[in-house]
């Protein structure tokens, strides 16, 4: 699956591509929404690990504008529900992720991202 939780962790790893290689840009994506079990403890613990601007941008590209530009100081339930939805309920089923630095294309097919490299691309 490529939910935005995973998109926020992935980076380009093509040979020599070590800077400006995150976040991967979403292209021609098809999205499905699916309910996921809400877990506030997970969200409170995980939020410090998020690259926030990358998450907000990716969500907006997918049509979700619910997140503020900066994570709020007060993590109330309303905010955590929105974060939950963005991280865990938007599934990218088809499309591609493209490196902003080297333009390498990582296809997404049937919800699974292909992060394999061809032999000459391996660092």
């Amino acid at each position: 699956m490529v939910r935005l939780i995973t998109h926020n962790l992935l980076a380009c790893h093509a040979k020599g591509c070590t800077s400006n290689n995150f976040p991967l840009q979403l292209k021609d994506v098809q999205v499905e929404l699916r309910d996921a079990e809400y877990n506030a403890d997970f969200l409170r613990g995980f939020i410090s690990r998020i690259e926030w601007p990358a998450l907000v941008d990716a969500a907006r590209q997918l049509g979700d504008t619910s997140l503020p530009n900066e994570p709020p100081e007060m993590m109330d339930d309303d905010f955590l529900q929105k974060l939950h939805h963005v991280l865990l309920e938007i599934h990218i089923e088809e499309g591609a992720m493209i490196c902003p630095n080297c333009a390498h294309v990582y296809p997404i097919s049937n919800g699974i991202p292909n992060m394999l490299l061809a032999e000459h691309e391996i660092g």
Binding site: M1, L9, H13, D41, F42, G45, F46, I112, P113
Partner: protein
């Protein structure tokens, strides 16, 4: 039926060797293999149960994703992302435990992640499929790099030369023991072997059906042979394994860490003049025909 283990000689290009003797085999046997892999091992379950809420981790070589739903009593407290080379196993892993999981198609020798982004990583029964010492060390280095340099934790399992009496695998009388020298020569270098996987004709059909549902750009020529032998009663797939010798896994992990400029030891015991970053081996041992090692990264 006990399956006999035979000696393997790694030759030519190790990457091509693994495509033929590991990756293409798992593509073929994925559904049958998965149906036999459902019970989590106790030490791995304990490790995952000990993680605090909010942590994210990598399961490098996730197979059918059986560890992705853990811990079962705290669902969603942590998220484990599964990575594997077998697309057909990932199709199974994506819904492990009857819920949607996060899985990524990739190679354990690659690091397609923000450096140090994970809080923990596990690699279960995976690194023993790499066919050179150097590649096994590199796979461990990718694990060490993907976890937090401040608090990252990792657990690695590999197959041991020293086999459990209860293990289904045995060396039958037809196979001379000398073929793999399990008893006679416990070398710290381990042993390269083939472990057969017997797929009945019926299961083979199921497997082919599953394979057709996905496209792999790296299918080996071997697959053509499978198509031609479907009427045969069963097909034997030989998977390559490096069986680890006693002491080999901690030595390999230490070499991997030092290769990244990391000290190995308890940070409280490392004197001034030592490094400021390192790993500590938390536990290592043998369980049910496997060696395991748990470590944590530290920085001061």
């Amino acid at each position: 039926m006990p399956a006999a283990v035979t000696a393997a000689n790694v030759s030519d290009d190790p990457q091509k060797y693994e495509i033929e003797h590991v990756h293409s085999v798992y593509e073929e046997i994925a559904p049958h293999f998965s149906s036999t892999r459902y019970k989590p091992w106790p030490i791995i379950a304990q490790f995952l149960a000990s993680l605090p809420a909010g942590w994210v981790g990598l399961d490098s070589g996730t197979g059918n994703g059986k560890y992705l739903p853990l811990p079962l009593d705290r669902p969603g407290d942590v998220w484990t992302i599964g990575l594997d080379r077998s697309r057909n196993l990932l199709e199974i892993a994506r819904s492990a435990g009857a819920k949607r999981r996060e899985v990524v198609w990739g190679d354990v020798l690659d690091g397609p992640w923000r450096p140090g982004v994970f809080d923990y990583a596990i690699s279960i029964a995976t690194i023993h499929h790499l066919s050179t010492h150097e590649r096994r060390r590199e796979a461990i280095q990718r694990l060490l790099e993907c976890i937090s340099p401040l608090h990252g934790r990792a657990l690695i399992y590999v197959w041991a030369i020293e086999q459990d009496d209860l293990s289904k695998r045995s060396i039958t009388s037809a196979q001379p023991k000398a073929a793999i020298s399990v008893q006679e020569d416990i070398s710290p270098a381990g042993q390269d072997v083939f472990v057969p996987w017997v797929l009945s004709a019926q299961k083979s059909l199921k497997s082919n059906g599953a394979r057709e549902s996905s496209a792999s750009p790296r299918q080996s020529p071997q697959e053509d042979d499978v198509e031609g032998t479907q009427e045969a009663k069963s097909k034997v797939f030989n998977r390559y394994y490096h069986m680890f010798a006693k002491g080999e896994l901690p030595t390999l992990v230490s070499a991997a860490a030092r290769g990244l400029g990391l000290d190995v030891g308890d940070p409280d015991d490392i004197n001034q003049g030592g490094g400021t970053r390192g790993i500590q081996i938390v536990q290592d041992g043998w369980e049910r025909s496997n060696y395991y090692i748990e470590l944590r990264r530290w920085e001061k």
